[in-house]
């Protein structure tokens, strides 16, 4: 049963990377749209319907991890305390930017919260990458130890991958000039993201505390493949394929790290009775949750148009 819960925890985190990843990437893209208030509004409107449903994945991950792998979580979170504080702080600021932006009409007010959202999205992505990069290593103490080369590589890769993911999402959801800009930006980002991701996967056996886990090869290879597919599709203007590629790549990032860490996580698993009980009460809800999110996607499957509902 532990294996099932390890998978659930992994899928919740992968779901967050795949979903909030594009929201964070789109948030960063706001910075590229200086002087174009209309496009910035469209970016926010494109993300809007999914925003709430995306970030719950990370909360669910933290909540489930705490119960199913309490000791592994405590060890990880205590060792990486500053990274988590940075991540949660950036998360709060990103959300404030989203919630506050449209609540006043002044252009200065909106620009301020858009900039805030862009910067905080970048920091949030970087902190999430720093967390993964450090988590696969032997946990150590001290802020400076967290800024080790592999941790920084993780941060950089996550930022590049989320930025690419964001452009793929915007190309899929918008029309006209904004779509073209997103596609061009995606085309330029793709090689950088691919290079970083390959480097991150290739150096993983050196950094990993548990050496190489054969299972990590699957997501480790699928991730770069996803970026490659997205790169080609973006050049040909096939937005759907490009987005599918970046979804795969984003989801593979935590799965690779998770496969490397699986042994250590399983050592810190909760008692058998906890796992059994949680399996009875919590597992049946998962299909329903996925269905609710699928309905949300179905309702908002169209490209943005004048009739699209906005709130943020």
């Amino acid at each position: 049963m532990e294996i099932v819960w390890l998978l659930v925890v992994g899928l919740l985190l992968a779901g967050w990377y795949a979903l909030d990843g594009f929201a964070l990437g789109a948030g960063m893209f706001l910075a590229a749209l200086r002087g174009d208030a209309r496009s910035r509004r469209h970016v926010v409107a494109a993300v809007g319907p999914f925003f709430l449903a995306n970030e719950v994945w990370l909360i669910a991950f933290a909540g489930v991890l705490a119960v199913t792998f309490p000791d592994a979580e405590a060890a990880l979170f205590t060792a990486l305390y500053p990274v988590i504080v940075l991540m949660v702080a950036a998360w709060l600021v990103r959300d404030l930017g989203m919630w506050f932006r449209a609540r006043r009409p002044e252009p200065g007010w909106q620009r301020w919260w858009e900039t805030t959202q862009a910067v905080a999205s970048l920091v949030f992505a970087a902190a999430a990458g720093l967390f993964l990069g450090n988590a696969v290593q032997e946990p150590g103490d001290g802020v400076l130890r967290m800024l080790n080369p592999y941790g920084l590589l993780g941060a950089l890769t996550t930022v590049a991958l989320f930025a690419l993911h964001g452009t793929a999402f915007l190309a899929l959801r918008t029309t006209g000039e904004l779509r073209e800009r997103a596609r061009r930006a995606g085309g330029r980002l793709a090689p950088a993201a691919l290079g970083l991701l390959v480097l991150l996967v290739a150096t993983a056996p050196l950094a990993s505390a548990t050496g190489l886990a054969p299972l990590a090869l699957v997501p480790g290879l699928a991730g770069p493949a996803g970026v490659t597919v997205a790169w080609r599709a973006m050049r040909k203007g096939r937005d759907g394929t490009a987005f599918a590629g970046t979804v795969l790549a984003a989801a593979c990032l935590p799965l690779t790290a998770g496969a490397l860490m699986a042994g250590r996580l399983l050592d810190g698993v909760a008692g058998e009775s906890t796992i059994d009980r949680l399996t009875m009460v919590a597992l049946p809800i998962l299909p329903f949750l996925l269905a609710a999110q699928a309905v949300l996607w179905w309702v908002h499957r169209h490209r943005l148009n004048d009739r699209s509902v906005t709130f943020f």
Partner: protein, 412 residues
């Protein structure tokens, strides 16, 4: 201050401010569900405007509730890992169920509701809000089950250095949880109802002209708030009686408290087991506010008929200026509940000092400073914006707006 004090301070500040938003969210949800049902059943456009106006206040408030709640989820792992290790099965399981069952559902369906205006069929759209409101109540229940275990540990046995669940039914039917749910839900309705009435009073006082709109809001808010006051008091009194009997060091005072403290010192080692002296005072203040509402909220209710209240400026002013009162009172309630249980994180089982994580005081201090400043910004700017939406009235509705509209909240 050491890591323990700092971690306690951080938890106190963040939960109190988070609960400001939670209380209003919980209290407004049933009122909005009622208004939208009226609209779907009767098709009166006034009810649609009412739903949208109160709905957009609700959403912003809900959003700030999420933002302020994010840290709480992580705080247990960051600052209180001793608690998750020791009681993960009893305390963590309801918390995890809350994130999955209630919060995940609530957020996804709220997204469907906000962005489903004009897209979903009317009845399906209404049902999404029912799911949101029910999930909010479920969320409150599960959180209070987790908290109730800390107040009144039941259904467990010790297994080594951790607790093991033996009776799940006892945990979920814990009187410390059920009494609290019975108290918190009507208290939230007081917050929501008197907020709705207070905002309506502001509009009458300013003569903004939306007579029918705010007449209905005022009626609904005052009636629900007033009726809820009696339930709040009833369950509050029952809780106090229960606490005096089961947590003697919290409120009892006198010989019983001293006797209980002596027993704890004998069993768990020396320490200060009596709750601070101001806890009963806070309780008295809370009770006084509730009785003030019982006495004086009757006046506007009597005047509700035929719009007589709408010209009484003094009364309307009181309605506006007392909007913060229920908010402050619910925070006092949590302080009594949480500070009163100290120095225990799990009453009479696990001292707070053993629940705190093994982290340096400097780390906790840094996170305390960062998050407190973020929370202050969030609360101040957030409530200014909510007040702005409330003041602008139903003429500028953002909820259900589309991309072709001019930038929302335009002008003025």
């Amino acid at each position: 201050m050491d890591a323990l004090d700092l971690a306690r301070l951080e938890f106190g500040i963040t939960t109190s401010l988070h609960f400001l938003f939670v209380a209003l969210t919980l209290g407004l949800a049933p009122l909005i569900a009622f208004l939208q049902t009226l609209w779907v059943v009767r098709g009166n456009p006034l009810h649609e405007r009412l739903t949208k106006f109160w709905g957009q206040i609700y959403i912003v408030n809900y959003g700030l509730g999420i933002v302020s709640g994010l840290l709480l989820e992580f705080q247990f792992a960051l600052n209180w890992s001793g608690l998750t290790h020791f009681a993960g099965e009893l305390f963590g399981a309801p918390m995890a169920m809350e994130t999955l069952y209630a919060f995940f559902v609530e957020s996804t369906f709220l997204g469907l509701w906000i962005f489903g205006w004009g897209r979903l069929p009317k009845v399906a759209h209404l049902l999404t809000f029912y799911v949101v409101a029910l999930a909010a109540i479920g969320s409150a229940y599960l959180i209070v089950v987790a908290n109730g275990f800390l107040q009144n540990p039941v259904g467990f046995e010790r297994a080594g250095d951790a607790l093991r669940l033996v009776d799940a039914g006892a945990v979920f039917a814990n009187p410390a949880a059920l009494l609290a749910v019975g108290h918190i839900l009507p208290a939230a309705l007081m917050v929501g109802g008197f907020f709705m009435a207070g905002v309506s009073a502001w509009h009458f006082r300013r003569g903004t002209g939306e007579i029918a709109f705010f007449r209905l809001s005022m009626r609904l808010g005052l009636t629900v708030g007033y009726v809820a006051t009696f339930f709040t008091i009833g369950f509050g009194d029952a809780s106090v009686l229960w606490v005096v009997r089961n947590q003697p060091t919290k409120l009892a005072g006198g010989a019983e408290a001293v006797e209980a403290a002596r027993r704890m010192a004998a069993e768990h080692g020396p320490g200060d087991y009596l709750a601070p002296a101001w806890v009963p005072i806070a309780l008295t203040v809370m009770l006084s506010v509730a009785y003030l509402y019982v006495l004086f909220a009757l006046i506007p209710i009597v005047l509700l008929g035929r719009g007589r209240i709408e010209r009484r400026r003094l009364l309307l002013g009181i309605g506006v200026w007392t909007i913060p009162l229920p908010f402050l009172t619910v925070i006092l309630g949590w302080m009594v509940r949480e500070v009163g249980r100290q120095p225990w994180v799990i009453y009479d089982v696990l001292p707070t000092s053993q629940a705190v994580s093994d982290v340096g005081a400097a780390s906790v201090l840094a996170s305390l400073v960062i998050f407190t400043s973020l929370y202050v910004t969030l609360v101040v700017v957030g409530y200014l914006l909510i007040a702005r939406i409330a003041r602008r009235g139903p003429e500028s509705l953002v909820l259900g707006g589309v991309l072709a509209d001019p930038e929302p909240v335009g002008g003025r």
